[in-house]
């Protein structure tokens, strides 16, 4: 075909598209939501269908304190990201550290609950359907908290080394999106396991 002689028109100034990091994270969160949905469906489907004990009513205790820890960490990470955007790096680091502490506390709560269930009530993943679905669903969430904590800690280390700048706040926002997702999923898991499932 004949060679193209004309050039493309000039680039308009106002061409702006969404930040790819945010789009990518939104898609990841979407995929994670689907995965959690399947586990939640399995949990609800099997409520009350265990052939042997222990049952949720007998052994589960509602982890109110640790839930408050996790949910309030959403607030601290949001404020931290805002502070970084405004250039207040010291305050950012402090709140970031606080977020990690809250997340770690939550994880400690889960560990303690599992320890109690395993050693006091003899409930393991292979005991009955409740054990299988409970450890899978709560474990899947704990896995996401752990992954989030590792990523948050990496940012903390970079921050302590003086390498986190306000210019990077868009990237910190992406991480904060993920953390909000982990918290939001806990609301669902909490409702399913500790409210509806008992």
């Amino acid at each position: 075909m004949s060679a193209i002689t004309t050039t493309f028109p000039a680039t308009p100034e106002d061409w702006k598209l969404p930040y790819r990091g945010k789009v990518g994270m939104a898609c990841l969160i979407f995929a994670e939501c689907v995965i959690f949905t399947i586990f939640v469906v399995a949990y609800l489907f099997y409520v009350g269908k265990s052939l042997t004990g222990p049952t949720p009513r007998e052994v589960l205790e509602t982890p109110i304190f640790y839930t408050i820890c996790l949910l309030s960490s959403s607030l601290t990470i949001h404020l931290a990201a805002k502070l970084l955007e405004r250039g207040r790096r010291g305050a950012f680091l402090l709140l970031w550290l606080f977020t990690i502490v809250l997340g770690a506390l939550f994880l400690y709560g889960t560990a303690q609950e599992w320890h109690r269930l395993i050693y006091e009530h003899g409930l393991t993943i292979s005991t009955n359907l409740f054990g299988t679905t409970y450890y899978s669903l709560v474990g899947l969430h704990a896995f996401h908290v752990t992954a989030g904590l590792i990523m948050l800690s990496i940012v903390l280390l970079f921050g302590l080394a003086g390498r986190v700048w306000p210019e990077q706040s868009a990237r910190v926002d992406v991480l904060s999106m993920y953390w909000h997702f982990v918290d939001a999923v806990w609301v669902v898991v909490f409702t399913v396991v500790y409210v509806l499932g008992r």
Binding site: P12, W15, V23, L140
Partner: protein, 557 residues
């Protein structure tokens, strides 16, 4: 806008040690190279899965045949199905999306090049794991090697009691790993299309190829994620003694069926939407007309994507659901026919009144239109619950979905191979060999899969390794097997054409088809980073605007 400004690749390519070239390919994050890797990887597995199909067909050629043992037969159909879906069609579609989407939307690479490479290598590793089962599947119990539980791996076949050793674990882990790769690539495609479009490339001006791949990527996320979750549950059952699908402890085998088909049916549309994307690019160019009904095409595809999420249980009519569920899933299944029909009419509308050029890519697309229509009609038959009760699990079903996948998707795929071959390699393919491939494959396809409906109607169940003589199935099965060999010969012609043309083909130039999308504005093969200067577009057919400045599309859109 000239791509000659960056001739780096060609100058450096001559006289380098092969280790360096290999290293470059293994460590590459370039979307075009990863696209080619995906495509070559899929072609390799196409040959492997084709050989498995051949073994199946030789075994079924005549009654009481003992070409392979029943155990090997089970492994062959399991591996054939799993390989074809997960390691042939998904990777090849991702390969084309990877190669073409950035070029079409005027971007220099995908949004996340390293995630792209990571996803490819995950998929590649998944395929290796699946096939390593032939060696490593024996495990501790000395039972079985490759997975033999069927591609949908129904519980309780996959439980430890019925599937000792590690063969099912290889299946689970291979699909889990490649599933992560698929989700990674899908995220990448969406982020690329949302965030990397060149100036002026509004969503309404994107080539339909980009639109349809955007929808495909969204469906990959929706479809593969449930499979990932279900595979994790299966692994928990097999390795930690969980009870998700363990009926002995109150678990449910039906739950696995639901989870699998919540993945399984949207998956069919994940595979066919990119095929639609190929058609939507090829048919306008060879009809010399812009696509008919662009917004409707986008809407219809989105509608198919939406509907496909609510049809999964039409695979499960025979498990005994109540009549409301049967009715619901039958109606949603019929409803898919509406947007699909809209699309077929739009392609016909594009061809209507055009100056159609019957080149090889166009021939394959026309074949698609006929065969996909028939496949859709048998689909509606099978979507009718009472009809399904009669024919579920028979060769009629096998014939139906091969009509979709071979007669539809594979035909579109071959069209795409011929259409973009000049762009990817810089050489023209041999048109005579291409037409020979088309006609041979068409004859082989119809011999195999038209005939295959009949033994299904006569009651031949799928997955049997042999059958009794005197049921009227012998001649039909022999014909099916002969057709399979004709298809095999056609594939050899195709591969020979690809290889020979790569060395001997005429130089293609930038734009051999006089096409209208941005990938044809750069050299063939495109230079690293694609565009010397990022293009700006003003209509759906930017190259038309460039070639016809006196009458650009932008005046009318």
């Amino acid at each position: 806008m000239s791509s000659d400004a960056i001739p780096i690749q060609a100058a450096e390519a001559a006289g380098r040690p092969w280790v360096e070239t290999l290293h470059e390919w293994v460590t590459t994050v370039d979307h075009k190279r990863l696209g080619i890797l995906y495509i070559l990887y899929a072609l390799f597995f196409l040959v492997v899965a084709g050989l498995e199909a051949t073994i199946i067909r030789i075994q079924l050629m005549r009654p009481h045949n003992d070409f392979v043992s029943p155990q090997v037969f089970n492994r062959m159909f399991t591996m054939h199905g799993t390989t074809m879906i997960f390691f042939v069609i998904i990777p090849v579609m991702f390969g084309f999306a990877n190669y073409l989407v950035p070029l079409m939307i005027g971007a220099r690479d995908m949004a996340f090049p390293r995630l792209n490479a990571f996803s490819f290598w995950l998929t590649a590793f998944g395929g290796l794991l699946l096939y390593f089962s032939f060696v490593g599947g024996n495990g501790l119990y000395g039972a079985g090697n490759a997975p033999d539980v069927g591609w949908w791996a129904y519980a309780p076949l996959t439980s430890r009691a019925f599937s000792p050793g590690h063969s099912s674990d290889y299946w689970t882990v291979a699909l889990l790993v490649s599933g992560f790769g698929s989700i990674g690539t899908a995220i990448n495609i969406i982020a690329t299309i949302i965030s990397m479009r060149c100036p002026g490339m509004t969503l309404g001006r994107m080539p339909l190829f980009a639109w349809l791949n955007l929808i495909m990527a969204g469906m990959v996320i929706l479809a593969i994620s449930p499979l990932t979750a279900a595979q994790v549950m299966l692994a928990v059952d097999r390795y930690m003694g969980g009870h998700f699908f363990d009926t002995q402890a109150g678990g449910s085998a039906t739950l696995w069926m639901h989870f699998f088909w919540i993945f399984g049916h949207p998956e069919v549309y994940v595979l066919v939407v990119p095929a639609f994307a190929f058609l939507s690019e090829i048919i306008p160019v060879f009809s010399r007309k812009p696509i008919f009904g662009y917004p409707v095409m986008v809407g219809a595809t989105a509608c198919i994507g939406f509907l496909s999420l609510s049809v999964w249980a039409h695979h499960m009519f025979t498990i005994g659901m109540n009549s409301y569920a049967n009715g619901f899933f039958a109606i949603t299944t019929f409803a898919v026919g509406i947007p699909t029909g809209i699309k077929i009419f739009n392609w016909l509308g594009t061809m209507w009144g055009g100056r159609i050029q019957f080149k090889t890519p166009m021939l394959f697309c026309i074949g698609f239109l006929f065969q996909f229509l028939i496949a859709g009609l048998t689909g509606i038959m099978l979507g009718t619950a009472p009809f399904n009760w009669q024919l579920s699990g028979s060769y009629f079903v096998v014939a139906h979905f091969h009509y979709v996948i071979v007669g539809g998707i594979m035909f579109a795929l071959f069209g795409a191979f011929y259409y973009w071959y000049p762009k990817i390699t810089g050489r023209m393919f041999n048109e005579t060999l291409g037409k020979l491939h088309f006609w041979l494959f068409l004859i082989g396809f119809h011999l195999t899969f038209d005939v295959m409906h009949i033994p299904g109607l006569l009651g031949m169940p799928r997955r049997i390794y042999t059958y009794e003589p005197g049921r009227g199935w012998e001649t039909l099965n022999l014909l099916v097997t002969i057709g399979a060999f004709v298809q095999g010969i056609a594939i050899l012609v195709f591969v020979a054409n690809l290889v020979v043309s790569y060395f001997k083909g005429a130089k293609a130039g930038n734009d051999p088809w006089d096409a209208w999308t941005l990938e044809w504005s750069v050299s063939s093969p495109p230079p690293a980073y694609n565009f010397a200067s990022v293009p700006t577009v003003a209509s759906r057919r930017p190259l038309w605007d460039l070639k016809h400045p006196e009458d650009p599309d932008s005046r009318y859109e």
